[in-house]
Symmetry: C2
Subunit: 338 residues, 2 copies
């Protein structure tokens, strides 16, 4: 049995949607047990709306809540009894095997970094997110934990994302690319140029630099970048479908024939929506900390929460952190694996 602590108070629609997603996960995945952490009264009230099969959800009290806008490190240090803090503390004490939160991302990263610390050999943790492309799922790392990574940190992100893509997404030999401003090895900042060399000399399936235009095309299974550009690009992705369909709807409404046409296209559009559905990908693992922590989008639906909890279980079951330590250890003395 894999025990996952779920931050019941984290997210724009917590606790309602989080509890609904936790119940779905408990009922759908037989190997998981959920510890729902937060203000017990509020959580009980939501739990009572659902039927949980086989008593696979237990409650754990945490009196405080960290809001989406609060300062990450300060709030973690000040609110000792926050739901995310208690989740991560349980993970440190090995009372659970993983943590899932849809709350304040910065606070989750701060709690994990301060309470769990890094995996042996890892310089800085990073967030790996799965995004749909025209050729299947790509993993982008980092998307906001580390705004100014060194070359070695970028290299370590590639090693970690490679393990995640292999053992969780079941990609046989995932391709790895650096997101850069041009394809030549000489492009980008010093950190990117140096990371290019480290990646080229590594055992990873490194295909070189890719540019922004290849982000959606699935040219690479893994896309490595700093957390600043990763965050901006990720949020652009989220808005693209919405913006495009907004423009389309406006134009189509001007023309009755086009309105009929759009109606006839509906099944094709639904198929695209399913193909590029962020709910399916679930949460984003914070890789490189000494424990399994999954961060889900603040606006996650119950289904997205369920899938993020599933990913937490998959990471534990597939011993991702052991594989990361194995992958990174040859570089401990500075020389990447060849």
């Amino acid at each position: 049995m894999i025990r996952v602590a779920v931050d019941g108070m984290g997210g724009d629609y917590a606790p309602q949607v989080v509890v609904e997603g936790a119940v779905m996960a408990a009922n759908d995945f037989s190997q998981l047990e959920i510890v729902l952490v937060g203000q017990s009264d509020a959580l009980k009230q939501e739990l009572n709306k659902h039927k949980v099969l086989g008593g696979k959800i237990v409650l754990k009290e945490a009196a405080e809540v960290i809001g989406m806008g609060e300062s990450p490190v300060a709030s973690i240090k000040k609110k000792k009894d926050s739901s995310i803090g208690v989740c991560v503390e349980m993970l440190r004490a090995k009372e659970v095997d993983a943590v899932m939160t849809a709350g304040n991302t910065g606070a989750a990263v701060a709690a994990a970094t301060l309470i769990l610390g890094p995996l042996p050999g890892i310089k800085r943790p990073g967030i790996a997110i799965s995004t749909p492309t025209t050729h299947g799922i790509s993993v982008t790392m980092d998307v906001g934990a580390n705004l100014n990574p060194s070359a070695e940190e970028l290299y370590q992100y590639a090693v970690m994302a490679d393990v995640f893509a292999k053992y969780v997404l079941k990609k046989l030999r995932p391709s790895v690319a650096l997101l850069n401003i041009g394809e030549e090895p000489s492009k980008g900042t010093e950190a990117y140029k140096e990371a290019y060399k480290l990646l080229r000399e590594s055992k990873l399936n490194f295909i070189g630099n890719i540019e922004g235009r290849d982000f959606f095309t699935g040219k690479s299974d893994i896309i490595i970048c700093d957390g600043f550009v990763g965050n901006v690009v990720l949020k652009m992705c989220e808005s693209v479908l919405e913006t495009m369909s907004g423009i389309l709807t406006k134009e189509i409404k001007k023309n009755p024939v086009a309105m009929l046409g759009a109606w006839l296209c509906k099944p094709a559009l639904s198929a695209i929506r399913n193909e590029t559905n962020y709910e399916e990908a679930g949460g984003a693992p914070l890789l490189g900390v000494n424990g399994t922590v999954i961060i889900s989008h603040g606006i996650s639906s119950a289904k997205a929460i369920r899938n993020a909890i599933r990913v937490a279980g998959d990471i534990v079951a597939n011993r991702i952190n052991e594989h990361i330590i194995d992958g990174i250890s040859p570089t401990l003395n500075g020389a990447p694996a060849r």
Copy 2:
């Protein structure tokens, strides 16, 4: 009469498409005279295919060509008689008023920086590009000239983009935003946090930080960012329409009813294509150098070349560089204008 030197050899489809665009500009804009720079035989051969009204194109020989993949600074220093180098040298000698190139962007930036130098008070030049959004044209700066700008450089980009938006795009009081990883002033790297303060204290219409999701929505008339993230984001934009219609076409072809629907939607789709047409925006000015230099995309069509030459003329006619010097001078002693 405004004289524009056009790099006849720069671009993926040079000299053919560049000459065609130069002829269009010469015929369409009565106030412009074009100096077509490059290998005279090749240029003459292309020119003979077109009719130029009133002899408004002259040729200037430049024996060498800098390829799209060549190292910018090294190629400019080595090839003394390159088409882009000769263009910029003519600008320095005041034989022309502006330069337009669709060639190697790095080489154009290097030539302008080395030969022209910066405008008084400007730390580093940057590239300002106009992108279509759901609410009109936005200006994004920088998109690749300066990968790691300081706070003051980011601030100066805002001043320069503001002048461009006011005097060329005729926006009355353009809004200015920083592209960042969150809306709070505390977000981003040290340079971004400090730039936020400088912008808030300035006379600009600063609306704060925006995130990736607002890039397409036209929330701000001007979007300020470092050249790395600007370049990645710009290239993503370019591919979005293409990628989305690729996915759409694939799905629609699976379903004959949807194929009929798509055919009925065609006029609406064409309207979107026109609304978001990069050809209209023309080239991107390199702002902050002591002269007017317009950089156009390597894959520019003749129409895009024509419009980039028009923008070069507009910048000269509207005395953009004088306005930039006026806008920047209160900050010469370190304190931004209030």
